[in-house]
Amino acid sequence: MLLFRSEDDIVAWCERRHITPGAVFALAQLWRLATAWYDDRLDPAWRRRTAPQRQAILDAVGLTGSFWRLTDS
């Protein structure tokens, strides 16, 4: 999960490493994801969220579609 200067840089970087480009999106959306995903880590009663709970966070910040599915089902 890297930060690039531009979409052109992403394409060139992927070509150079023979990597299929993945998902590209804006920092504002990543900030919403970062805020929601880790908001429980300093909770003394923390338990790893279940896959449905994690999927709900991705959905809530607008990261939907097959790339963002945590399971095959």
């Binding site: 890297l2 930060l3 920092l27």
Partner: protein
Amino acid sequence: MNTDPVDLTQGRLISDSEIRLWVYQHFVDTGRAPSPVEIAAHFQLAPADIEQRLRRLQEEADALVLLPGSSYIWMAEPFSAVPTSFHVRSGARHWWGNCIWDALAILALIGTDGSVSTACPHSGQPLLLSVTGGRLADAQGIVHFAVPARDWWRDIGFT
């Protein structure tokens, strides 16, 4: 499965959860991971006991990632115990994030203003992000996730 066993030490019970939380607070306060010996000294437990608990926190609770083949903490997501390309600062404190997502998450979970320094992996151009008042105030760059969500934990170091 009981993932949170307890031992009787010095007249009180120490849970794995308590150790996990102390590791996180140590990252918050100091920017680095405590060693197994430091954790053992803090809780007055045997280092071998702490190593067993750290492995349990990794393998059963999915709470930590240890450096391969060791009992040293590598990641307590979003914190990295080793320097990375994602440097996070707030005042005199600083941390390392495992990726751009984690770098922003460090400021979010601590709830502090600060900045993230990284560089474009292709052009090398430095990129600086700022968080002020709980908002992303300065946002240079665009995010790329190479690994689909279902594979994020297959190789967490690459992800």
